[in-house]
């Protein structure tokens, strides 16, 4: 491990409110959930924060509940919680599908949905699901709670509208009508970061979201529009390939991501017809 750990401080709140007070009064204090992302930075010596708020014990943040035909998923719900939840499997099967493809079993047991959202990687596997489902991010601070539509949550590469004193407490998912579809293309079959990841809902108003094809998870409104107004899948595919802005990096190439995104769009359309 490349980080010196002696100077790090871990705060252990007993309630969400105490956690929020700690973040207000003793900031900068970084909230810590499963630590699967934070630990990677700790190991490579790139972790900047020195004080952490450990919320792992706050079970109140782990609830998965029905909410007006939709869902409310506590930020601390792990991927394992999600894929074991009958409610998630019934109402948001594409989330269960995404959870099943995260890392390996150990990471699924420890990694949380809130952590995936807050970490703000464009390759986060749950993010296209939440984008396609038009989730609301429930943020809370000592001053109160606000709900941010998922499409307004990310402002750029690894940046969000979340303030330093705020916590994600839950993700609220409105009822999703229509067939759901998810596909991850990783660098291998397990323990893999996505090269292209797509979640989509087949509805009168199709909703399609992709990860790893731009600086943030993206919805593709022009492609959705085209499909909604009866364009052929070939036309939609061309629009999609122009609409996304993938790059070459150490994991893949822009050309691959663009073409595969188009192929997956066609798969989605075919398999949900």
């Amino acid at each position: 491990m490349r980080s010196a750990v002696a100077g790090l401080e871990l705060l252990e709140p007993r309630s969400v409110n105490e956690a929020l007070r700690m973040m207000r009064d003793r900031g900068p204090a970084t909230p810590l959930a499963g630590a699967t992302d934070l630990y990677v930075h700790l190991n490579s010596g790139t972790l900047k924060p020195r004080r952490f708020v450990n919320r792992w014990a706050l079970d109140e943040l782990r609830r998965i509940a029905s909410k007006r035909d939709g869902l409310s998923i506590g930020a601390l719900a792990t991927f394992t919680d999600c894929l074991r939840s009958p409610l998630v499997r019934r109402r948001l099967p594409m989330l269960a599908a995404a959870a099943r493809e995260v890392g390996g079993v150990q990471i699924q047991n420890r990694g949380t949905l809130g952590g995936n959202v807050a970490n703000a990687s464009p390759a986060g596997d749950a993010l296209p699901v939440l984008a396609a489902a038009e989730a609301l991010v429930v943020l809370r601070s000592t001053e109160g709670e606000r709900r941010v539509p998922f499409s307004a949550f990310y402002t750029g590469y690894r940046s969000t509208v979340m303030r330093a004193d705020e916590l994600i407490v839950a993700l609220e998912i409105p009822p999703v009508a229509g067939k759901q579809w998810f596909r991850k293309v990783g660098t291998r079959l397990a323990q893999a970061i996505s090269k292209v990841v797509i979640a989509a809902v087949r509805d009168a108003r199709p909703r399609i979201a992709l990860g790893s094809v731009g600086p943030t998870v993206v919805r593709v409104p022009r492609t959705e529009e085209a499909l909604a107004s009866g364009a052929s899948i070939e036309q939609a595919r061309r629009i999609l390939e122009a609409e996304i802005k993938p790059i070459d990096d150490i994991r893949s190439t822009a050309a691959y991501r663009r073409r595969v995104a188009g192929n997956l769009l066609a798969c989605f359309w075919k398999e949900t017809s």
Partner: protein
């Protein structure tokens, strides 16, 4: 036989399974410091200055001025410094060492290097310098091409592969007896011993090298520990305390040796009936910034380049080029996987050009007893090219799948290959390895400098000795590797440990048995006192090699393999998914069938990674994906069922007929997979065949 060929319990198995086995990282010595290496940030240039802000007391620092002997890592050439003096030849080159009792203090210490960048060379084809040139000639290629009905040409490229042994490099060094002692995770204790004598200007008896339990090597702990042990030793001598250095995964990947990337060009003349009449082959290896082992890797690469085929006219030209990258070095297969990938991918292209079946083409040309290889080595009865080929074809129902799957996105491909066991040419003669047996109250103790790193050396050696003595397996112990106590048995490399060192041990056992007569060990010891039998390698009289002309018996014998890959290509993501992998190998005698099968499965898995996923990506000479996240090795989910079939045709000079097995299975995986991809419609000439490359191939041919 009572012991050989049986699945006895492995000697260190229990300790490993229960966690009792201690690896370097588990060990702590009183007063021990931890060492850290400060490395060059640029690929080429000059070191101008070193600035330190250590942030407290208690540090030991070392630069090249602290080296009492010669500032080199002594290997084939003495060109590589242990610490940079002025010239920087590759990124991550070690420059400065610091040590402290507290890991925390060590991590907080700041050392910055001021460097003046030069103009690096990264492309081996653009490099002005070759470390070694090799020419192998047989017959007359011009004449051969004149006879050819068809000429097929092709260029093939293989990428930069990292070993990824589960345990990274690590050592502890401490001052001892007016000299130095080192305990490390390593393959070749006597390489380290010699390197330390040169670096520290010490006589042999003042240097002691011991092996700690070692979690995998694959060649990554062949020459590199000589560098690392040097660093720890310099810090230990200066601080007068034990010093431990263990690399983390990132440093292990970014700074240590890897498999040589290769460019291999083939031009092959074929007669109408499919006979190879001329093979003209050019092999270019990227050697990296220093010579290290490149000349011998190139040698093995070239000798294996023409494949297990008979052809009257062969020319093989090889070069190992200098580039400003981390030196490439030993890696399981040692050049042969690169050239046999090219050769076997090329064979399928020849079959395609002829409109012939790839099995038939290989049957026509496979070496048979009495035939000669490119170096003129005559094949004996244990030449098994046809046997492994036929068995693999039968097992996999190859022709049927070949026919049925055409045009379906599924593919099946095979590769036929061989691997010379032991050091190349006169290497074993020069090594003059020794091994010994010491009589104990209960039996005998094996004394060798060869190392257990997971492959099962302790177990197979004990089996050979027990069998020869007619004693139970349990009566044989294996001594810890410590250069003060065990002889130099040569390095644990080149698939030589069971075959060569096992052979010396068998000779020791024979002599021990004769000395004992009818006495039990206890009775003998009581009557005559201690008994140690030491034997040296004896070169078989019927194995001859000429280093000047590069002709003759390159190896005592070859092990043979045919591997078959079955896969499908996802039409939407261009991912190749292996559904089945079959390895048929002929290895003389499987001393321990489970360990042998383990070698084959592990080698196949490593070859699968090499074929499809693994590639170190260099940017400005630095590894851009130095992590398990981004350097992609296959997980169990990516590895298909591997069926292993072991055939046995005894080698006349091997212990109980054994040949080497460790490296062989890596040679065939990549070409089998690439040939299966070709069958599925993708013309791949460069590995790894990532989905990105498969996409390019498919979209280009459509």
């Amino acid at each position: 036989m009572r012991v050989v060929g049986r699945k006895v319990e492995r000697k260190e198995g229990r300790a490993k399974v229960t966690g009792a086995a201690r690896y370097v990282d588990d060990l702590r010595m009183p007063g021990m410091l931890i060492g850290r290496t400060v490395r060059a940030p640029i690929a080429c240039g000059e070191l101008v200055g070193i600035k330190t802000e250590l942030g407290g007391p208690g540090f030991t620092t070392v630069d090249f001025c602290d080296i009492p002997g010669k500032n080199v890592v002594s290997l084939i050439a003495e060109d590589q410094p242990c610490l940079v003096e002025r010239e920087i030849r590759h990124a991550e080159e070690p420059v400065f060492l610091i040590a402290h009792e507290s890991r925390e203090a060590l991590l907080e210490a700041r050392v910055s290097l001021e460097c003046r960048p030069g103009v690096p060379v990264f492309d081996p084809l653009a490099s002005p310098r070759s470390f070694k040139d090799i020419l192998i000639e047989k017959g007359d290629v011009a004449k051969g091409f004149a006879e050819a009905a068809l000429i097929v040409e092709g260029e093939y490229r293989a990428g930069l592969q990292e070993h990824v042994s589960i345990e990274p490099n690590g050592v502890i060094a401490w001052p001892e007896n007016g000299g130095i002692a080192v305990l490390g995770s390593l393959q070749c204790p006597y390489y380290v011993h010699r390197a330390l004598m040169t670096l520290l200007a010490l006589p042999p008896e003042k240097v002691r090298v011991c092996q700690a339990e070692t979690g995998g090597g694959f060649g990554g702990k062949e020459e590199y520990p000589s560098m690392l042990a040097g660093h720890a030793a310099l810090l230990a001598l200066k601080s007068k305390r034990p010093v431990k250095i263990v690399y983390d995964r990132e440093e292990e990947m970014a700074a240590t040796t890897k498999r040589h990337p290769a460019i291999v060009r083939h031009r092959t003349g074929v007669a109408k009936d499919g006979r190879l009449v001329a093979q003209d082959i050019e092999v270019i290896l990227d050697g990296g910034a220093y010579v290290t082992l490149s000349p011998v890797v190139l040698s093995r690469a070239c000798i294996h380049a023409a494949g297990p085929y008979r052809c009257a006219n062969v020319r093989i030209r090889g070069r190992a080029m200098f580039t400003n990258t981390v030196p490439n070095g030993a890696f399981r297969g040692f050049g042969a996987p690169q050239t046999q990938f090219a050769g076997e991918a090329h064979m399928d292209r020849i079959a395609e050009a002829l409109g012939e079946d790839p099995v038939k083409l290989r049957e026509t040309n496979a070496l048979r007893p009495g035939d000669t290889t490119a170096t003129g080595q005559r094949m004996h009865d244990d030449c098994s090219a046809l046997e492994v080929l036929r068995e693999a074809v039968k097992r996999t129902r190859f022709p049927e799948k070949r026919w049925k799957w055409k045009g379906t996105g599924r593919g099946i491909g095979l590769a036929l290959f061989y691997h010379g066991a032991g050091f190349t040419g006169s290497g074993e003669v020069k090594l003059a390895s020794k091994a010994a047996l010491e009589l104990t109250e209960r039996g005998a103790r094996i004394l060798t400098g060869t190392t257990e790193m997971g492959q099962g050396q302790r177990t197979t050696h004990a089996q050979i000795v027990a069998e020869e003595l007619g004693w139970p397996y349990e009566a044989i112990e294996v001594a810890e590797v410590d250069t003060a106590r065990v002889p130099d048995s040569g390095p644990t490399v080149a698939s030589r440990t069971c075959m060569i060192v096992g052979g010396i041990l068998q000779a020791c056992a024979k002599e021990l048995k004769a000395k004992l007569g009818r006495l039990t060990p206890r009775a003998y010891l009581k009557r005559n006192g201690p008994l140690v039998v030491t034997k040296s390698y004896e070169h078989p009289g019927d194995v001859a090699w000429n280093d000047e002309t590069y002709r003759g018996d390159a190896y005592g014998t070859f092990a043979w393999g045919c591997e078959v890959a079955e896969l499908n290509v996802d039409p939407d993501t261009y991912e190749a998914r292996l559904t089945k992998f079959t390895a048929v190998v002929e290895i003389g005698k499987a001393i321990h069938p489970v360990l042998a099968a383990g070698q084959v499965e592990g080698g196949a898995a490593q070859g699968i990674g090499y074929a499809l996923l693994e590639e170190a990506i260099l940017r400005d000479g630095r590894m851009a994906n130095a992590s398990m996240t981004n350097y992609i090795i296959p997980t169990t989910v990516d590895t298909p069922t591997i069926e292993t079939v072991i055939l046995e045709r005894p080698y006349r000079h091997g212990p109980f007929g054994a040949k080497g097995v460790g490296e062989l299975p890596v040679d065939g995986a990549a070409p089998a997979i690439v040939n299966a991809l070709r069958h599925a419609g993708a013309d791949i000439r460069r590995i790894p065949a990532t989905p990105e490359r498969i996409m390019e191939a498919l979209c280009a041919s459509r």
